[in-house]
Structure formats: structure tokens, C-alpha cells
Amino acid sequence: MVAIDPSLAADVTKPKADNRQARTGWGLAAPALILMFLILLVPIIAAGVLSFTNYSLGNPSFDWVGLQNYERLFTRSTYEKMYVATFTYVVTVVPISVGLGLGAALLVHSLGRIGDIYKTIYFLPVMATLLAMAIAWEFMLHPTIGMVNRTLEMACGTWFEVIPFFADGCAEGFPLWLGDRDYAIWVVCFIGIWQGFGFNMVLFLAGLTSVHRELYHAAEMDGARSGWERFRLVTWPALGPTTVFVVTISCIRAFQVFDTIEAFWPQGGGPNKSAYVMMFAIFEKGIQQNLIGIGSAITMLFLLFVMFLTLIQRWLVERKVHY
């Protein structure tokens, strides 16, 4: 290698090198930039434009219909059911899966090495193909030969019958679960929680390992004797940023629920449309029925919800990042 005085070389070639670096910089980033535009930004704009039309694939032309698609979204009862189903799912799954994730993380963390086995097991549903597991759950919940109702039937004739649910079930048969419009959405919620809480647990565990032990000693010195006090004064504040993140990511995942719904009810989104969530609506309206305008309007609404949530998260993180 030739020995060059670095300062001299830098002086002579600086403007040239800057120029060259700018060109290579743009050159290296170009493929990513082009794809970002074509795959992420253009489709959003396209959806925005199409949501004001009555376009269908295969039609040579289309009409501008103004706000008609959005008007439908806020007046038709189908879409009211869509909001009810989506928000029921999100509002149920997010708090419970975050709560269970935190609880499991605290228990597993306090057990030390033995706790790792539970960590492994609770993480399995995150790894498994959700569609396959949805079908497995469908068999479990089969009204006559499913494991769930068979297990419940074993309680018949015992003191369990004191509970109204068991008394009714033993007399008139246990619920149909997926076929029953009172249970359908809750079953889907349950599977969402079942699948997601292990993920949240692992994120909380990562957060817990970063809490300094000295903080617990300090809290104890200050008179925080009970486990609850230590949790309230040390653990919970230290987990703040993790919690904000876990809640946001759970929300975004919950909004995107689709696999279970499509597996259980390929047509129609559940008994009486009780599980007609937004992603399923986009799929049904936009792709199956080729009503691109209305599908695009739902897409825009969906993006609005998700981006709003993420912006809240960023704002929260920036506001209380220091603990």
C-alpha cells in the first residue's frame, strides 16, 4: 500500500470526494428508494384516488363518484358491523394479551432458569402457521366431536352444574362456538390472545432484564417491602417504554386479523357478520366482489387508524422516554 499523508490527501480531494460520495450514496440507495415509491407510496396514492371512483377490474372506464364510497362506509349497517367486530377484537385482544404477556413475563422472570421452559412453550403459537392452528382450533371447538365440548361434558353430573353455564350446557347442549353469533367473535378473540401473548411476554422479558437490581435494593431501603410496592415503584415505570411499544404493536397486529376469520367463515365473516373485520371486508369487497372503490375507501380508513396509533406511540415514547 502506498503511504499517503491523510490530511494532504483529504485537502486536495475533498470537494471531489464529497461529490463522488454523493453520487455513490444516491446510487446505492436508489433501488430501495424506487421500490419504496412503487410498492409503498404509489399504492397509497392509488387507493386514495380509487376510493373516489366506482372502478372495477376489467371495466374499460369508471366514474368519479365523489364521497359516495365514504358515505356508504358511515351509513350502511354492514359497515357498522365491521366497526363493531374490528373494535371488539382490538379492544379485547390488546389489553388481555398485553396483560397476560406481562404477567407471564413476571412469573417466568422470577423463576430464573426453570422459567425458560415456559418461555419456550408460550412462544410456540407465535412460530406456528396461524392458519393451521386456526383449523386445529376449529376441530377443538367442533360442537359434537370437539375436545372442548367433550371436556365440558365431563363436568355434567358433578358440582360444576351449580354454575349456570354448565347447567344450561348439560341440559341443552354446550354452545356451537363458531356457529353461534353470541360466541363467534369471542372465540376469534381468544385465539388471537392465545397466539399473541407469548410474543408480548418475550418483549417484556427483554425489558425486565434491563431493570437494574440496585433499583430494587434502593426501593427496599425506602420501605417498599411488598412485592406489589416494588412492582409499582420500580418495575412498572422501568417497563414504560416497552409497554408503549408492546401495546402499539399488538394494536397493529390486532387490526390486521384475517387468517382465523377466513379459515372459519370463508363466506360472509361469521354468523350474522359478527366477525366481519376490516381486513376481511377489504378482501371481500375489493378482491372477491371486485368493488374496488369501496375496498379502497376501507383501505384508506384502515391506514388512517394504523398510522394514528403509531403516531400516538411515537409521541408517548418521546414524551416519557426518560425514567
Binding site: 430501495a32 383449523i135 418483549l203 397493529i252 374496488i292 391506514l303
Partner: protein, 320 residues
């Protein structure tokens, strides 16, 4: 330990609920239709020989068979020849339930093809993501150029967009290009991983500048630096990202469901399973659960073998 018993109680209860569908899936894949119907046979089933009704139906002895077999059953009338032939067919068609379920899983539908498609799609998505994301991440982390902050701002903005949410306009675009029902349709929307760019950029920021300067002194081009200097330093982060990407796309159902319609040659494993469910009558629970087990197993086994790496990879998105 004695003080912790209640924690174990709670966690074991959770374990039962978490494992129940896995238990049932694997157990049903071992059992005969009768055992599934009646709910007996424990975990493995009794594994008694069973007769495959479809196999028998296909090989029902006809007139010609009886004529051909007359020599073997000399001196018997037609009815008894037919009966003996039927008995032979049934013997040929009987097998253990576990063999029945798994062989049906692979013969009723081209499951090997589906698995191969799954591998092709996940691997090409990952490779293209890397080819696109690494140079961009390097440029954003280590090169100074006008507009760099704007580009990075765009990356941060794009992190907000879930690709599933814009599936409809993407589908329209691909349909306009005539690309639906191709491998390209399965791969293209995932070729840009904004998250990958962000992640690798954060990682490259920690690589010392001296390393890059030394490589420049040696006369390496910037592109060569990306692949021969930066890539080797980033192996752990890349591995985590690979796991993240492969798990997401192996398990993805929504996107393949949209762009692949009817063409079985392009089905990914979840689509294949879905089709199985669509045309299965009740007696097909066993083979279907066998299919499900085959599809779920690769990732679960890989996870059990390299747990730490998998958990790292999947929770990457928490590393912000």
C-alpha cells in the same frame, strides 16, 4: 421451589391451554377416522389396521378381473371369485391409520410441491430484501450526501405502512401488469423491507469508520465494501433478520390468498392446507391434520433447536 408452587400452577395451566391445539393436531394425525369420531384411542390411537374406502372403491373388481382371476380360483362360481377378489383388494388397501393419514396428505394434494413453493418464495424474498436493503442501509449509515436525511425520513415514514393494509392497490397493480398467479406476484410486494433497511442502518452505525477507510485505501469500490466488508460484520443481525423474514412469509396466508387463485402449482403451504379443508368431507380430518403437522413442523423444530436466535429474530421489531 416450595414458595414458587403457585407460580408453577398458574404457568402449567397456561401451558395446557397453549399446547392443547398442538396436542390435538398431532394426535388426530395419528388416528383413524372412527377413533376421531368417537374420541377414543388416547394420543397415538390404537393403530389397528384400517381399510381405505376410496382405495377399495377405485379397485372394485369388474367382469374382466373376474375372468382373469378364474384360473386362480378354479372350480368356484362368479360370486365367490368376486368375494375373494374383494377380500384381496381390501387386504391390499388396509394400512395403519398413521400411514393412511400421512400418505393421504402427500398424495391427495401435491404437498411436496407446496412445501417447495414455500421454500422458493421465502428464500427469494429474503435474498432480494438483502440485495436491496444492504446498500441502502450502508449509504444511510456511512456515506455523507445531500438529501440523506430526507431519505432516512422517508424510511421512517414507510415503517408506518403495513404492507397487508395496501394489499388491494398492490393487487390491482399486479393484475394490470398481468402478474397475478405468478411467483413474481408472491414475491414482489415484499422485496422492499423498510424495516430491514432501518435495522441494518442502525447496525452499520456501530461499525467503525476505520474499517471502511482501510478498505477504500485498498482500492475497493463502495459496492465491494458493502458485500465484502459490511456484510461479514453484520452476520448476527442478518441472521436475526432472516429468521424474522422467513417466519413471516412461510406463515403468511393473506397475501398468497389474494394473488394466487386456482393455480395449484403456485400454492404455498398455508394455501394448500386451506384447499384441503375446502374439499374435505368429515372423514378427512386425519389426513388434514397430518398436512397441518407437516406444514407447522419445520419452523417449530428449527425454533426448538435454536431458541435464543429465533426469539431474538422475532422480537427484532422491539429493538428500536
Amino acid at each position: 421451589m416450595t414458595r414458587d408452587w403457585w407460580k408453577h400452577m398458574v404457568l402449567i395451566l397456561g401451558t395446557i391451554i397453549v399446547l392443547a391445539p398442538f396436542y390435538m393436531m398431532v394426535s388426530y394425525s395419528f388416528k383413524s377416522p372412527g377413533e376421531i369420531d368417537r374420541g377414543e384411542g388416547g394420543f397415538f390411537g390404537r393403530q389397528e389396521m384400517m381399510i381405505d374406502p376410496r382405495c377399495v372403491a377405485l379397485r372394485q373388481p369388474d367382469r374382466a378381473d373376474i375372468e382373469a382371476a378364474r384360473a386362480r380360483f378354479a372350480g368356484q362360481d362368479d360370486a365367490s371369485v368376486q368375494a375373494s377378489l374383494l377380500a384381496e383388494t381390501e387386504a391390499d388397501c388396509s394400512m395403519r391409520p398413521v400411514v393412511f393419514n400421512y400418505s393421504k396428505a402427500f398424495t391427495e394434494a401435491p404437498l411436496v410441491r407446496y412445501l417447495l413453493n414455500g421454500v422458493i418464495v421465502t428464500v427469494s424474498i429474503f435474498l432480494i430484501q438483502i440485495v436491496v436493503a444492504l446498500p441502502a442501509a450502508y449509504a444511510l449509515a456511512k456515506l455523507k450526501f445531500w438529501g440523506r436525511d430526507a431519505v432516512f425520513g422517508l424510511v421512517l415514514f414507510c415503517l408506518l405502512i403495513p404492507v397487508h393494509a395496501i394489499a388491494l392497490p398492490l393487487y390491482i397493480g399486479l393484475a394490470k401488469l398481468g402478474l397475478t398467479n405468478t411467483y413474481a406476484a408472491l414475491v414482489v410486494p415484499w422485496t422492499i423491507s423498510v424495516f430491514g433497511i432501518f435495522l441494518m442502518r442502525q447496525f452499520f452505525m456501530t461499525v467503525p469508520d476505520d474499517l471502511i477507510d482501510a478498505a477504500r485505501m485498498d482500492g475497493m469500490s463502495e459496492l465491494a465494501i458493502v458485500w465484502r466488508v459490511m456484510l461479514p460484520t453484520a452476520i448476527p443481525a442478518l441472521l436475526a433478520f432472516a429468521i424474522f423474514s422467513v417466519v413471516a412469509h412461510w406463515n403468511d396466508y393473506f397475501w398468497p390468498r389474494i394473488v394466487v387463485t386456482g393455480n395449484r402449482d403456485l400454492f404455498t403451504p398455508p394455501l394448500g392446507l386451506r384447499e384441503f379443508k375446502g374439499d374435505g368431507d368429515g372423514s378427512f380430518f386425519g389426513p388434514m391434520m397430518a398436512t397441518a403437522t407437516v406444514i407447522v413442523t419445520p419452523l417449530i423444530v428449527a425454533f426448538l433447536l435454536a431458541q435464543r436466535r429465533f426469539i431474538e429474530g422475532i422480537t427484532l421489531s422491539g429493538m428500536k
